[in-house]
């Protein structure tokens, strides 16, 4: 089933002005198909068609008047076929299809043929038209999935998503290194004579990924062959024992792409702390007891260190923003033809961080929306550029509160993390060519 456009509502930004409804009513004539409602306590909520993948309104229609267009993703309604039974409204749990007496029939959002009028009408940024998934699908769906089915990743792990997207893009003319950690642990390289990918892939040591890939690349360069050479490493293999070889390869400008998938610790071996583990985190080696309360120091911020290595390209990414990731992957691959490219992808770990498996993407999103994770790219020529600047960040507690590894923290500790997040953002802004580029 293809991915499709949707409209996202950010309640924190909504002030209930109703401009979206006015715009919809004007665009469509008659009643608005988007509805903003007070949620009590001053907040706002929404009723709007979600253009469901498996829409119950369609299943409930006896007349064939509703159907899901698998090209556009829109759940379409035909006035011609509708018999006004309104059974569709029983199927919808979102208030997305509603009988309007003035019109005399049901109405629903049709995304205005791809340019929804409500979104630009909102001056508060509370509505976003998310078309990235659909675009990505269009671009990448036909590419071969080079990753095996039946992996043994933990439920909710976003690494599989990341690996599939990455492998699809880089294709078979590539060599991939997966140093010890969750990525080979889920079967990426294979077990006992079985492979995990339809491309050349190997286990380097935890310590030497960048160096081994440099050797691979140099030999192909010597033979005049353009091979894409990529590391899919964890944070241990990048910020800790892997750092020396990473640093050396970056300094030498080895023409490789190093992707660090940062789950803030040694999750594959039982959730021990790494140099990337943030302050306050419970891990199995920074436990919470009567004397110690989780990790006592801040994590090492590797992407910032990589800026000092003369890399051709450095960027951070989040799987909640896959379009941003793909844009950076393209740039990184191009940069890896002339020098060292580094991508740092944040990978919240449901198992090790203790949050429900279904919440991974929401956790990723909140990391970004709270500025705990910043999305940016850096080149020596253009400096640092925020690719998803968050001007009105959520309070950090919105993010920390979701994560079990922080549940012992009090306000003082959360404030400390908030302060270090604020410092980091300010510090990164200093790398912008023009400070206004952060806007």
């Amino acid at each position: 089933m293809p991915s499709q456009d949707t409209i996202r509502f950010i309640p924190e930004r909504c002030d209930g002005c109703g401009d979206c409804m006015t715009a919809c009513a004007k665009a469509k004539g008659g009643a608005s198909r988007i509805s903003i409602v007070g949620s009590g306590g001053g907040g706002w909520d929404i009723a709007l068609c979600r253009q469901c993948g498996d829409p119950k309104c369609v299943a409930n229609c006896p007349a064939g008047a509703l159907d899901k267009h698998y090209g556009s993703g829109i759940v379409g309604w035909s006035q011609d076929l509708c018999v006004d039974c309104h059974l569709c409204t029983i199927g919808c749990a979102y208030g997305g299809i509603v009988f309007e007496s003035a019109a005399g029939h049901v109405q629903k959002c049709d995304l205005c043929d791809g340019t929804p009028a409500c979104v630009p009408a909102c001056g508060k940024g509370a509505l976003e038209h998310l078309s990235a998934a659909a675009r990505l699908h269009e671009t990448h769906a036909d590419k071969e999935d080079l990753f095996v089915p039946g992996l043994s990743a933990c439920q909710g792990c976003n690494s599989e998503l990341l690996i599939r997207h990455t492998m699809r893009r880089i294709g078979r003319n590539s060599v991939v290194a997966a140093p010890p950690g969750c990525i080979p642990g889920m079967g990426t390289v294979g077990y006992n004579g079985q492979t995990g990918a339809k491309m050349p892939i190997f286990h380097p040591l935890l310590t030497n990924t960048a160096a081994m890939l440099a050797g691979v690349k140099r030999q192909y360069e010597r033979r005049g062959k353009d091979i894409t050479v990529v590391a899919l490493a964890g944070d241990g293999g990048a910020v800790d024992v892997g750092f020396q070889s990473l640093s050396g390869a970056a300094e030498r400008g080895e023409r490789i792409l190093f992707i660090c998938v940062d789950n803030e610790g040694y999750m594959n071996t039982g959730m021990q702390a790494s140099g990337s583990t943030p302050f306050g985190s419970w891990t199995s080696t920074t436990p919470v007891g009567t004397v110690e309360r989780g990790k006592s120091t801040d994590g090492k911020y590797l992407p910032q260190l990589m800026m000092g290595h003369g890399c051709a390209y450095v960027a951070t990414a989040s799987t909640a923003f896959l379009d941003d990731y793909h844009t950076k992957l393209e740039k990184a691959l191009a940069a890896s033809r002339t020098g060292f490219a580094y991508l740092h992808v944040h990978a919240p770990c449901p198992t090790g961080w203790r949050f429900p498996a279904a919440m991974t993407t929401e956790v990723c999103r909140r990391q970004v929306e709270s500025n705990f994770v910043t999305l940016w790219e850096f080149t020596a020529e253009d400096g640092l550029r925020f690719t998803h600047a968050v001007d009105r960040p959520r309070p950090l507690s919105d993010y920390v509160g979701m994560i079990g590894k922080y549940k012992h923290l009090g306000n003082a500790e959360i404030e400390r993390i908030q302060a270090s997040v604020n410092r980091r953002v300010a510090f990164l802004k200093g790398f912008c060519r023009q400070p206004s580029a952060a806007e």
Binding site: G190, N192, K198, R218, G248
Partner: protein, 406 residues
């Protein structure tokens, strides 16, 4: 480089340069380097050869020995003939990828410019570094002089890449005495060496190559289906490759002798052993002084011979037993220590070889030349005297430390 292509020529150089010149002749694809005393001038020479265009290899100036060997592993998996050199602490730092190389069956050649291990802090020769890694699955070869260094480094590529062997090779030459010892050597003609070595084919069994996609080194072993059998299969074939190296290396030496006129003993060299009562057993550059001492003793009517160990891993058990069968006692001179046995490692290997044969004879252990100390003819006179006494039944219970009072 102004080397004549079709004919050999004489040059004067030290052992480090000789090794570097051998590497030029072997035409590796990728050379990765990091300096360390007493190896540094070797990699400096390589870098210069690359800079001058004499060596058309990719040169990776890695940030440490760990990455040096790792980069070579990657290159080798992509089909490259590879080389590097290290020493002492550098070898220790390289250890993690080092122990992995034989299991991956990567046919690299790495010179060990031997050095004593810290601590006490020291920067001088001694074979403790190489001896420490003698059980890692690398083939280990020890050279006696500068010419042998040059010839052996070339031959080592042919040994490593042989399909019955397919293992990495350490060519060891002693720090200080061979690294810096200058001598007149014959440099073989490049074209002849090309004919001798042939085209490298180093990753036919395992490759990181989009034209031959495969998983390299997936997780193997455990109690899952076929895990144990699979792992045992790999290990056994690795042991077989090691055992095959003795015969393959002998053949390579024979061919070398035919092509270039220098006939080195591939495994152990027997020197004036035919009618000897006792033998001294040597390894590495000390052999020269040992042979001088044997000659001097012979001049005095003592029936003394010498057994030089060239191939140390795999240990040439049959050759050693054959040589020992000719004498009544032997004195073994180690340039390092086996801490477990209160003797030298070579001593320990000779004991093990003897036990596997019906032969029984007294062995005297000597430890000398640590941390750059010289083992002179005078030291060997003492070795001969103590070994002669042992042949008469007076065997010391612990090793004789030759430089103890130097």
């Amino acid at each position: 480089m102004n080397q004549h292509v079709n004919s050999s020529r004489m040059i004067v150089c030290d052992g480090n340069e000789a090794a570097a010149r051998a590497v030029v002749l072997a035409r590796p694809d990728v050379v990765s380097v990091f300096p360390i005393t007493p190896q540094s001038s070797l990699v400096e020479s390589l870098a210069q050869f690359v800079a001058d265009g004499a060596l058309g290899a990719e040169l990776i100036n890695a940030e440490g020995e760990h990455s040096v060997l790792s980069a070579l592993q990657g290159a080798c998996l992509a089909g490259a003939r590879t080389y590097t050199a290290t020493s002492g602490p550098g070898l220790a730092f390289m250890f993690e990828p080092y122990v992995r190389t034989p299991g991956l069956r990567l046919p690299m050649v790495v010179s060990l410019v031997t050095r004593d291990m810290l601590s006490p802090q020291c920067v001088w020769g001694g074979q403790q570094d190489a001896m420490t890694v003698r059980e890692c699955g690398w083939i280990q070869i020890y050279c006696e002089d500068v010419q042998e260094v040059l010839d052996t480094v070339v031959m080592a590529f042919k040994l490593a890449e042989h399909k019955d062997v397919l293992l990495p090779v350490n060519v060891c030459h002693d720090g200080n005495y061979l690294s810096y010892g200058v001598s007149r050597v014959e440099l073989p003609a490049a074209e002849l060496v090309d004919q001798f070595l042939g085209q490298p084919e180093v990753n036919w069994h395992i490759a990181l190559d989009p034209e031959r996609p495969m998983s390299v080194d997936p997780l193997t072993g455990g109690t899952g289906p076929g895990g144990a059998a699979s792992f045992v299969g790999y290990r056994k074939s690795q042991v077989r490759g090691m055992a095959a190296a003795l015969e393959v290396f002998s053949d390579i030496h024979a061919e070398w002798g035919e092509r270039f006129g220098r006939h080195w003993a591939p495994l152990v060299e027997e020197y004036r052993l035919e009618d000897a009562d006792i033998a001294i057993i040597t390894i590495g550059s000390m052999t020269g002084a040992g042979k001088d001492a044997v000659d001097a003793a012979r001049d005095c009517g003592q029936k003394v011979g010498l057994i030089k160990v060239k191939t140390y891993r795999p240990f040439p058990r049959e050759a050693m037993i054959a040589a020992l069968g000719k004498v009544k006692a032997a004195g073994i001179v180690d340039r390092s220590v086996s801490f477990a046995w209160d003797c030298g490692p070579l001593h320990q290997d000779v004991m093990t070889a003897l036990f596997a044969s019906p032969l029984r004879l007294p062995l005297v252990g000597f430890i000398g030349g640590l941390a750059g100390a010289d083992i002179t003819a005078t030291h060997f006179e003492r070795v001969i005297a103590e070994t002669t006494r042992a042949a008469g039944g007076n065997v010391p219970s612990s090793p004789v430390w030759l430089n103890e009072h130097d």
